[in-house]
Symmetry: C2
Subunit: 688 residues, 2 copies
């Protein structure tokens, strides 16, 4: 009796002996190697491609003979001649093991392949979507043993794929009989099976083998912008990204004004629900067109949103979110269908909505947590999703805490005299020479600093039209560093500062960042009011962070992650000078980009991540800033730049900050004026 051949799979290293003549795919299954197949070994889908090694493998103590795999059979030859195969590749379902062999499974042949994320500090995503496509051969009906076609399909799924009996909606049952007969009893099934312990759903049955990929949609529904990523569910790849202004803006710029609209106008909530669903519909259509696919190929979707948008999307009146105690209608994750939200997808397309964390900390914050995984962090991380309402997460392996802080819209350029959205023409970066008080800046749409040759030409098209959120933060931080603004936030006069770019506006001063009036452009200044607006916003943000730190019993954090599209553009140094975030080494302040969108994508591509975030949100300690007595004290102390009490020694060691004091009387007055106003006039506290 000869020994069975030894087969070693790489990169897994799994090995074992299998009877001569065993197909590679069968050997892989036997040994628990992750090798994909959609057609179940029929040589149609080519998902089981492998690369056999030949020659010496000293590491494995093995010499692989050229005939260790069977010759190409007709099926494999046919596949190669029609569809092509990369040199050296074989179809794992056709090639049989005839001798000792080392077989490499390339990444794209693994079911649970890794979707590589660009940032080093976060985990890659393991591909394990809710949607699965399989080819099955169904037994023909037999009058001697009558059973339904659907029941025989279920038997085939169980036998050929070990899939438990699925449920099927009526339209699928209606298409079943023609599909089976047209496909000569061979059909492609698309099944949905998420993280919940329940039977899978059969979403469609089509005749023969359906080779086209399926797609999923990850949507971050923001107050201002709706962002969507279309992902190939076979590869995890983002094939198209698209954004849209939230059409609800016509009902109010910020969340509180939308809640007010719902309160004041009967049917207002329904109107806003219709608007956002219509916008989503448009986005779905656009993104499918961009990717060149039909919307019927999109078979799964995940949504994240802040609580107000979450409720409006679901058709729930958000009125309770506008008043204490800020009760969500539901905080749990939701599994819905496209039909429920009137989306232009196939009506039974599953939708998954991430859970909310609390009344002010929504599914978008949950998605940030999923992306940044504070609960797995070795060091203590503060994650700040900066927007009109900032959500903060503080935690490590021990515990994660969350709160929201009503920063208001100043960080987004609103309530700033020369403020504007981040669009071409907006000043986004600022540097001020501490000796002369002379600024230089960069404008969105140009790569050049304003003192570089060719700058004027480069901004001809856009002009220089205003300052965006990141620009105003840098401008004020630089003014502070240059001694033009004191710790109390007061802009000194030209005399006090010796800077001729300071002009007088009534009883206060303003700093001229750019004077375009000679060319018919605007005079762009940073006014005392602008500084006060940013102080309010940054104090709220910092106070929220401090509240979490208090609860955790710490007075510093190891690192800070800035999330949100806006967070990606904030310079860590300037955020520190301004005292937006707790003192922390500059290199420990990183940007996570649109972490909420990434979290949505993770939940789309990996169903285990859905269980993970559902479990995590229940474990996160929620802090409601609106009822924390210490919030007010933290807020007042954070009004100073960078801070009245916290030393920011780390920052000061690398960035010297001068300490002028421009006017005692004026400062006292300033303190009165900056008494906490949370949210807009008349709007309840705590949301926004």
């Amino acid at each position: 009796m000869t020994t069975d051949p030894l087969v070693i799979f790489t990169p897994s290293g799994k090995r074992g002996r299998v009877p001569r003549g065993t197909p590679v795919l069968a050997a892989a299954r036997q040994l628990g190697v992750d090798l994909d197949s959609v057609c179940g070994g029929r040589g149609i889908c080519s998902r089981c491609q492998i690369t056999p090694g030949v020659g010496q493998f000293p590491k494995h103590g093995l010499t692989v003979a050229p005939d260790s795999l069977s010759d190409w059979n007709a099926v494999e030859e046919r596949y190669k001649s029609i569809r092509g195969l990369i040199d050296g590749r074989r179809l794992g379902c056709q090639a049989k093991i005839e001798g000792d062999v080392v077989i490499d499974v390339p990444p794209e042949s693994q079911v649970h392949k890794q979707v590589i994320r660009k940032r080093a500090e976060v985990r890659d995503i393991t591909l394990a979507p809710a949607i699965r496509k399989v080819l099955v051969d169904v037994a023909e009906p037999d009058m001697h043993d009558p059973s339904g076609d659907f029941e025989r399909l279920c038997d085939a799924l169980a036998e050929q794929w070990d899939i438990p009996r699925p449920e099927a909606a009526l339209p699928v049952l209606g298409e079943l009989q023609p599909a089976l007969r047209k496909g000569k009893w061979q059909v492609t099934c698309i099944l949905h099976s998420d993280h919940r312990d329940r039977p899978p759903t059969l979403l469609s049955v089509t005749p023969g083998f359906d080779e086209d990929p399926l797609y999923g949609l990850a949507v971050d529904l923001g107050s201002t912008t709706i962002a969507a990523h279309l992902c190939n569910l076979d590869t995890g790849e983002v094939v198209a990204s698209s954004g849209l202004m939230n059409p609800q803006i016509r009902f109010g710029e910020d969340l509180m004004s939308r809640v007010s609209y719902a309160m004041m106008n009967p049917g207002g909530a329904a109107e806003m629900t219709a608007a956002v669903r219509e916008g989503l519909g448009q986005l779905v259509t656009e993104i499918a067109a961009e990717a060149g696919i039909g919307t019927d190929r999109i078979r799964d979707a995940v949504f994240v949103a802040n609580p107000v948008m979450h409720h409006l999307l679901l058709g729930i009146d958000p009125v309770e979110l506008g008043q204490a105690p800020f009760a969500l209608a539901t905080s749990g994750a939701l599994s819905l269908a496209a039909r429920d939200l009137d989306l232009p997808l196939l009506p039974d397309t599953p939708l998954y909505i991430l859970p909310c964390i609390a009344g002010h900390v929504g599914a978008d914050a949950a998605a940030v947590a999923l992306s940044e995984a504070p609960q797995e962090s070795e060091d203590l991380v503060l994650i700040v999703d900066v927007g009109t309402n900032a959500e903060l997460l503080l935690g490590d392996r021990t515990e994660v805490l969350a709160c929201s802080s009503p920063t208001g819209p100043a960080f987004e350029g609103a309530q700033i005299s020369a403020g504007q959205r981040a669009a071409p023409g907006a000043i986004e970066r600022v540097e001020i020479d501490p000796d002369t008080g002379t600024p230089r800046f960069r404008v969105i749409g140009s790569d050049l600093w304003s003192d570089a040759d060719g700058f004027d030409t480069s901004v001809l098209a856009s002009g220089i039209t205003g300052i965006c959120g990141s620009g105003i933060i840098e401008a004020i931080a630089e003014m502070r560093r240059a001694g033009l603004v004191d710790a109390g936030g007061l802009i000194g006069s030209a005399e006090q500062t010796g800077c001729d770019r300071i002009i007088t506006e009534g009883r206060t001063h303003a700093y001229v960042l750019h004077d375009g009036r000679a060319d018919g452009g605007p005079l762009i200044t940073v006014t005392q009011g602008d500084v006060r607006a940013i102080q309010l916003a940054k104090s709220a943000l910092y106070a929220g962070a401090r509240l979490l730190m208090d609860r955790r019993g710490v007075d510093h954090v190891d690192r800070v992650v800035l999330a949100g599209a806006f967070g990606a553009h904030i310079s860590p140094r300037h955020a520190l000078i301004l005292g937006m975030i707790p003192d922390c080494p500059e290199e420990k302040v990183t940007s996570a980009g649109n972490a909420a969108g990434t979290g949505a994508r993770i939940a789309l591509l990996n169903t285990a991540a859905r269980s993970e975030i559902e479990a995590l949100v229940t474990r996160i300690r929620k802090i409601e800033t609106a009822i924390e007595p210490k919030f007010q004290a933290h807020f007042v102390a954070a009004n100073h730049i960078p801070h009245a009490e916290d030393g920011f020694e780390g920052l000061r060691a690398s960035v010297p900050l001068p300490e002028p004091r421009f006017n005692q009387r004026d400062e006292a007055e300033g303190k009165t004026r900056r008494r906490r106003r949370r949210g807009a006039a008349g709007a309840p506290e705590g949301a926004g």
Copy 2:
């Protein structure tokens, strides 16, 4: 230490000691006594009414003192003064046990009460519907421990009612917050939880206590008639019944002609689906109006139908059911929502469709099995659901077999020269004097026999217009008994029979049942063609029964149950004379009425019955008559009246049958003519 009082509940006999001061409801729960409550002990719903006994209970060895229950408290007094209470009754949630007591739980206070069925031989139904109504107090939101209103409602359901976390559709989540606040955190929840192992569904949340009962609908969707029963889900009582002609009749009278319509006309199946759903919608509206309730109080529905109607209802093209191998799209039970069938109920109202048994043996036959429970029969029972297509079940505790037999429409009066539907004016009962050959008959709409005084007046309004199905069966059986028809089915001439009511029609003879021509009415005869048509139908029925008996290895059955509305009108004796059913003592032939409708009602009122029938249909042995070689032989042998081979000795012992032979030559010819034609010309075999 004094002994705790002893409490004995009747009729259950459950007993135990409970601490003094325990409310009767709490004591019942502790001792496992079935005592209802919807409001959870708040003295609102009065579902926990009990009757305390006072005095000597020698059987229990107990003397009950008048003060064995606490005095009436304010809640109980208030309830009695406003809503009234039957004398002697107390509210179990308010009355506290203060001494040894015997407490009677009246039937209407039991959750799982028995719904009494009229027939002695069948089980009563234990009330255990899928719909449940409970009152809960929900915790108010707490900013210190934020959670969604829905999550707190779920906690309340778990704590107060031990109900696992339900799922809720978006409209329910949308109505949740206003309902909780309007009801001051007390709401009535309607939940659906059927026999499947999955979370319950929250169907609605309304402020405060909703005292109005909920209803369920049991629908038997037949080819000709749609019959619906509206049941009170608290009592099991049928509060309204309504029927409607199936609007699909315009596409074809019988099932095969509807399948043909779907085959020949693109979109024909969808047209018929729309028609039947529209008809159902009308029925739903009518039955609710008849009961004086809103359709929104109907929160559950169960449907049974034959396979073709089943598919058309679901929107599945029935074309495969019109040709071998008669494959159902699905045979399993289905859980749907009203929305799926476009019914004018609340969109999320659950619908349950019973499983089909085989391609010709539908959910209606499954419902008959549920009602008649052959699998629990001690003796061997043959259940025949007589219709255009007859379904047969044969079985006992050992095994149940099923088949269908294409009887054609003759039993329903179609293909009969003077045939008509069972409607006023139709002859439904016939007797022929064996000596004189003179008939007397009864007509639908009159209680009198035709030879009684006042008969003519009683039928003035309707006239005497034709013969219905039961009438033609009795007429031919009586003709056979009177020696006017021989065993081969040939009508003798007036000379051969000595009966002057026999007339000649070409080469054959006909029997004049009624001659109304003098008054402008019709001449109603039983022709040779009529006898042949009934022979075909009864031979098919008998052959099906024989096939089942062969498989079971028996040559007689212990009893026969005739099901179907038509079955209820067949006279057992005449069915036996005709040889429709196997020989059997006349008193062992009973009618089950609309057993399919009853089965639907059972599945509506008791979810365990759903599991039961789903399990049973997989165990039933299905016999496909179309491919059984012996069917043809059985069919030919059954052509004789009552039978060529089977002796019918039991019948003959009580009903002497003369044995004339009218014409050798003609009989041979008849044999040729009665060669098996299954279904209508051009239509495939096996269905109808």
